[in-house]
């Protein structure tokens, strides 16, 4: 966990280097951490102001840094008093089993701590959704135990109150987006002015402010996902579970969402644990602190298998497989081809050496990725 000064320094750097939107979001998160209504309101207003001006003049933020830096300093002063509560154990999944319609989830164990992101990956039909539903209390477990450390007393209603589960197919809602958000916020006892402040904050933070009065039909699937995340975040959950949240998003939206999730879970005052499943392996791996790979309902131990090869890379080239095999025959490199990419695995070479060697041999590589520590290898 970074200290407060470093965090604020990073935010300022982001702003000065032109990542204005990112800096605004992080500034808002920190304002929220302070719990000071005035600062939160100011951060909302400032964010809206910059976004509005930047829509007219792209370089506005570079030319007007003072409002941002002034507010950031104010927030920093308040933030110094915030107590870090990251790292607490939230939830422990202890050797759970689940049999459902001929499918079996067997002996899954892991822990979730505050500020931690856990990625659940695996091919379709390998138990990702079943596992998430077991954690969220939608599925009963047949064996093992799930310990919810954030609950004072166990009841499934309390579990569902404190765990926010966003299914892959987001249920339809009615009425305006803002009414729904206000309504959700009241669910945990946020009433009156505080309710409106929280809703305005989340609307601005999730870039939904201009859609406040929109209905379900008027939103794209990407914004529906954003709305759902905004809705559950208003309920201040301890654990946020997302089933394939990236499925309906374009590349840019995926990046934005993942960075949002990362920053939200790393809140200083209200850090939460996040569990998300996805087929976008590389994207998830970028933000996840831990990856759980499921295969046929069982957890695959990544560490144990990863010892086999020192280097595994994925490349895309127009060179034919037999030419690659000829070039690499003396290097003891295992080559596999899935129709799109070649996967090269070596016990002798490291990534740099392997890429250098291929370049020296005149192989034209369009794309490459080091997947030595990625779960992609096990698909």
């Amino acid at each position: 966990m970074q200290n407060i000064a470093t965090i604020f320094h990073d935010i300022l750097n982001s702003f000065e280097s032109g990542d204005t939107l990112l800096a605004l979001k992080r500034m808002m998160d920190k304002a929220k951490d302070t719990g000071n209504s005035k600062l939160i309101q100011n951060s909302i207003d400032l964010s809206a102001f910059y976004k509005n001006e930047m829509s007219r003049n792209e370089y506005f933020a570079n030319q007007n840094k003072e409002p941002f830096t002034t507010l950031l300093k104010e927030i920093e002063q308040f933030a110094c008093d915030i107590q870090h509560i990251a790292g607490d154990l939230l939830l422990q999944v202890d050797s759970i089993d689940k049999n459902y319609k001929g499918f079996s989830l067997h002996n899954i164990s892991f822990e979730i701590k505050r500020s931690e992101v856990i990625g659940v990956v695996g091919a379709n039909g390998n138990g990702k959704t079943t596992l998430l539903q077991c954690i969220s209390g939608d599925n009963a477990i047949d064996g093992g135990a799930i310990h919810y450390y954030f609950l004072d007393s166990f009841s499934y209603y309390n579990v569902k109150n404190k765990i926010a589960y966003i299914p892959q197919r987001i249920p339809r809602w009615y009425g305006s987006l803002k009414d729904n958000l206000c309504f959700s916020a009241t669910g945990i006892g946020i009433f009156g002015e505080q309710n409106i402040l929280d809703v305005n904050f989340i609307l601005e933070r999730m870039d939904l402010a201009s859609y406040a009065n929109h209905t379900w039909e008027e939103l794209s699937s990407g914004y529906r996902t954003r709305f759902e995340i905004a809705r559950v975040l208003l309920k201040r959950p301890s654990v946020l579970i997302l089933d394939e949240p990236l499925a309906n998003l374009d590349i840019l939206a995926q990046q934005t969402l993942l960075s949002d999730l990362k920053f939200i879970c790393q809140s200083i005052a209200n850090p939460i644990g996040i569990v998300l499943s996805s087929q976008q392996l590389y994207e998830v791996e970028k933000i996840a602190d831990k990856i759980i790979l499921l295969k046929h309902g069982k957890e695959v131990s990544i560490q144990q298998n990863a010892d086999d090869y020192t280097c595994v890379i994925e490349i895309e080239t127009k060179t034919e497989k037999h030419i690659l095999e000829t070039i690499l025959q003396n290097k003891q490199v295992n080559i596999s081809y899935d129709g799109n990419y070649y996967t090269l695995s070596s016990k002798q070479l490291d990534t740099k050496s392997l890429i250098d060697y291929l370049s020296q041999q005149g192989i034209d590589i369009n794309y490459y990725r080091n997947i030595t520590h990625s779960t992609k290898r096990y698909f």
Partner: protein, 468 residues
């Protein structure tokens, strides 16, 4: 749609949303606001005595109810797993009950309007006066001698009265004061109030004409012809005296009385329409009066008025209260249950209900006893209770237990009435309905207590349980 509303209403809505979300989600505030102009409109229309009004109002109620349901289903505080306060289930049910009550009360509005528009005392007085006017105008047609041995006395507390009054209006039990004018004047020719407890009427049957009636009057059984209830001849004479005085030949021209009669026709909007049943004209004095003085139309108008008064008078008993109460509680419970269980369980609740009803019918036919329904009802209640208990120890949501909880919730308001019915099968049809009203109210209170103490917490616990 909200954006088209005045700003203060939008602010009010926003205030309720951010302060009382469970109340706001029921949309009761919009129902109350919307019902004010609609009720006023219905009230205004009701004063015009439009025929078939109840049908149109029923249609408006239905449309409003459906519209409200579509709005209601938008937000559900319970299913969002928010913080549920102790009285949540009670508040939700009461909101649903109030809303449904408003829609069902619209249907009763014409009755209420008529009640206030036509004061019963005035109507009674007018009817009496019209009868007198008929008698004055037709004085030459009236018999000169009263057959004193043909006077019949009806009393409120006699079995005979109960039997007799049940014949009055399609088998419904209507006190004699509220018998339709049609009965009073057309069927029995006329029933005229002499004082607070005395009526006299003349019949269109020449052989039993001039039947007199007195509430709680002294009577004896078994005297006179045809075992009629006979009045003590001394008191009977006193009744005639008044009538005879009134039917003395007046000292004013007939045109004065005709004009007065016309005023009554105007007051009660009695139309000058072609009369049917002309063939009856020659048969009796009553029919002649009807034909000549628009008696049939008057009958219809006064029948409606009298019926309205009858309904109001019995509003806490059989005619209005029970249907209104049963429909309102039933619909409110349906909505409450739908809002607190899954759609699948809700649908299967009705499928199961249909299956049980068919089974009960077969059982009734098999045992040739209608009481089988009641006995099976008790068996079911015990089964539902056990089913609910099973769920308390279950690891995941049990479909059958959820059905049992739904059925049990439906049964709670009827439990006291069922128990009393079992104790005394005749009890429910007690003439005053006092016991049944008590049991219905006890059932309602029991439901409210259960919502707080048992039903609410059970739904909260059951709905959140894993479904698989």
């Amino acid at each position: 749609m909200k954006k088209y509303l005045p700003n203060f209403l939008q602010k009010f809505d926003q205030y309720l949303l951010t302060h009382f979300p469970d109340f706001w989600s029921t949309q009761l505030h919009w129902v109350i606001i919307g019902s004010i102009p609609i009720t006023l409109f219905i009230g205004f229309i009701s004063t015009l005595d439009v025929s078939g009004l109840e049908f149109y109002i029923g249609f408006i109620s239905l449309i409003s109810f459906i519209f409200w349901i579509t709005r209601l289903l938008r937000f559900n505080y319970f299913k969002q797993f928010g913080r549920i306060h102790f009285f949540h289930a009670l508040v939700q049910f009461l909101c649903f009950f109030c809303t449904v009550s408003i829609f069902t009360l619209w249907i009763v509005t014409p009755t209420l309007v008529k009640y206030f528009k036509y004061n019963m005392h005035t109507v009674q007085k007018d009817v009496d006066r019209m009868n007198e006017l008929y008698c004055i105008l037709e004085r030459d047609s009236l018999p000169k001698e009263w057959p004193l041995n043909k006077i019949i006395i009806y009393t409120h507390n006699s079995n005979y009265y109960k039997r007799e009054r049940s014949k009055i209006i399609n088998g419904e039990e209507i006190p004699i004061e509220y018998a339709t004018y049609g009965y009073k004047r057309y069927e029995k020719d006329s029933l005229q109030k002499i004082d607070d407890s005395t009526f006299y009427m003349y019949s269109n049957n020449i052989y039993s004409a001039y039947t007199f009636n007195k509430n709680g009057y002294e009577y004896r059984y078994g005297e006179g012809e045809n075992n009629d209830w006979q009045i003590n001849s001394n008191k009977r004479s006193a009744l005639f005296q008044k009538y005879i005085v009134e039917r003395q030949v007046p000292n004013k021209p007939n045109s004065v009385f005709t004009s007065e009669l016309e005023n009554y026709f105007t007051k009660y909007q009695i139309e000058d329409e072609e009369l049917w049943g002309y063939d009856d004209y020659s048969k009796s004095l009553g029919n002649r009066l009807n034909w000549k003085y628009h008696g049939r139309e008057a009958n219809d108008v006064f029948a409606r008025i009298a019926q309205s008064h009858s309904e109001i008078a019995n509003i806490l008993s059989t005619v209005v209260f029970y249907p209104w109460y049963i429909v309102s509680v039933f619909l409110a419970l349906c909505i409450f249950i739908y809002r607190h269980c899954t759609r699948k369980v809700f649908i299967w609740t009705w499928v199961g209900y249909a299956i049980m009803t068919i089974f009960n019918l077969f059982a009734s036919i098999l045992f040739r006893d209608g009481m089988v329904f009641l006995y099976l009802g008790f068996v079911y209640i015990v089964m539902y209770f056990i089913g609910v208990l099973v769920m308390l120890f279950a690891r995941k949501a049990n479909f059958i237990s959820l059905l049992c909880l739904n059925y049990f919730t439906f049964c709670i308001p009827t439990l006291p009435a069922q128990l009393m019915f079992e104790k005394n099968s005749n009890w429910f049809f007690d003439q005053h309905g006092a016991h049944s009203l008590q049991m219905v109210l006890i059932g309602f209170v029991l439901l409210l207590i259960s919502l707080v103490g048992a039903i609410g917490p059970l739904y909260k616990s059951f709905y959140a349980m894993p479904s698989r």
